[in-house]
Symmetry: C2
């Protein structure tokens, strides 16, 4: 029976600290504000937007929204980004992706002010995570993994960490962040040979493969910490992770559930990035 690493405890901790930072900003007459730019009405985007709105409202972080029709042009999205860049009351921008087909996403992202990039999508943020120099903001989900590890005091220095998945949203940035914490990091992917033996060798496993059931009981051993970043819908229409909970949970020491795990921490990280950006902007004035 694994200890479940619940997001709500991490959130409680993060949010308490955030509230006092928002208070301090208020004393300087600064209200942190996030601009959400959404194209179309994708259910995933709407669901995340709702969670972000609930979280930000609780924390005193303002949100303004630019909602564009699904058939809008690249120029329309860029206009929304320019507006957010130029508005000094906006401290951060969340652009929902993927953008509809036909819109050149890279061209759009190039227009975003790196200082307002809350989800690690600009080249400046990517380079910051890669170099580990603290510049820019990492993708919120990747940082949510690190916040969970920190909250539960999971030791990282000198530990063997295996990351399953090599996306720019989670796999690669989490690998770099674990490396910065002095873990010995292995990155696995679809071309990895004998993944069960590689994963079993780890102290910590971060699973961000994007498919349900990628990691099951055969991949794990007792004593391991498993962080499940996946969000999938199973045959019964229920949310599930990339980890086969039924076979993994009885074996490992600690495990994040889905839902109630990593995903639930992401909006707190997003709010934290906005507050950080507001603090930086206030410090510059």
């Amino acid at each position: 029976m694994a200890e479940l690493l619940l997001g709500k405890d991490v959130n409680a901790d993060l949010n308490e600290r955030l509230l006092s930072r928002v208070e301090k900003l208020k004393e300087k007459a600064v209200i942190p504000q996030l601009a959400i730019i959404r194209v179309g009405e994708r259910p995933d985007d709407l669901s995340y937007e709702h969670s972000a709105e609930v979280r930000c409202e609780k924390l005193g972080v303002k949100i303004c929204k630019s909602v564009l029709p699904a058939d809008c042009s690249k120029e329309d999205v860029i206009d929304a980004i320019h507006k957010a860049n130029e508005d000094s009351s906006v401290h951060g921008v969340l652009l929902f992706r993927p953008l509809p087909k036909g819109i050149d996403e890279e061209a759009v992202i190039r227009e975003l002010d790196p200082a307002k990039d809350m989800d690690g999508i600009t080249t400046a943020s990517m380079a910051g995570v890669f170099a580990g120099n603290g510049l820019g903001y990492p993708p919120c989900t990747a940082q949510a993994v690190m916040e969970i590890l920190r909250h539960y005091n999971i030791p990282l220095a000198g530990k063997k960490a295996v990351v399953v998945g090599r996306s720019m949203v989670i796999g690669k940035p989490v690998a770099m962040m674990l490396l910065k914490e002095n873990a010995t990091v292995t990155i696995c992917h679809t071309k990895t040979v004998d993944m069960p033996s590689v994963v079993r060798d780890a102290d910590l496993v971060v699973v961000a493969a994007g498919h349900a059931g990628v990691i099951n009981g055969e991949f794990v051993r007792e004593g391991q910490v498993v962080i499940d970043v996946g969000i999938n819908v199973n045959e019964e229409g229920k949310l599930c992770g990339d980890v086969d909970f039924a076979s993994v949970e009885p074996v490992v020491a600690q495990l994040t559930p889905v839902p109630r795990g990593v995903g639930s921490v992401t909006t707190s990280v997003l709010a934290e990035h906005v507050v950080s950006a507001a603090e930086k902007a206030a410090g510059k004035e």
Copy 2:
């Protein structure tokens, strides 16, 4: 007895292809040109500069140099960079680092046109290597490792690669480039526990630790490929790598020597970057 993976064979192959690309550029009246910016007279810089000059001359790549006194200001270096950025006959820039203490290196690098960054030092190049999207140029030494692996047909897909070292010049970029070739990549460093067992588990070991003798016979097993990126001077005043050649060479299958290994390929890669940049510039006209 290991097969020695010699740089000269890689160079012969690379240079033959480069010469024909330079010929084609000549037909368009384009001479690829590298601007070298050097501050002071550090022996390492002078030695590399000499090698680069010899290589580039053989290949028909022109070099222009800006040599600044060791006590110059940040503004002087930035002026040299601006000049190279603006000169359309200059296709690439090599800035020797580290710059003398007191000169803000990051501020200097921010001024360099990413399209002319031949050694992967700008944030745009870093992000390109991290994302594996082919944008920008990776650090020459990191790419030299990949050119050696390619030349000798070392299989990478599905293989276990261990990179020893996590610098932004070699360790991290090589790890990303190996990942792009579908290797399962582990990054080790000074905080790695029981490094011998981690390194022995690899099919391919890339050693970029920056210290002589970091990897000796106890770390290796038969059948492995070992790429030694280190350049150190031993007690007898001779060049040596990070790998203890005497104890490793009898054990492994293939090994790059130092000298005559990775280091000797670096200037070919540098020249290749300049030719690529010249081709891109010519294509835009």
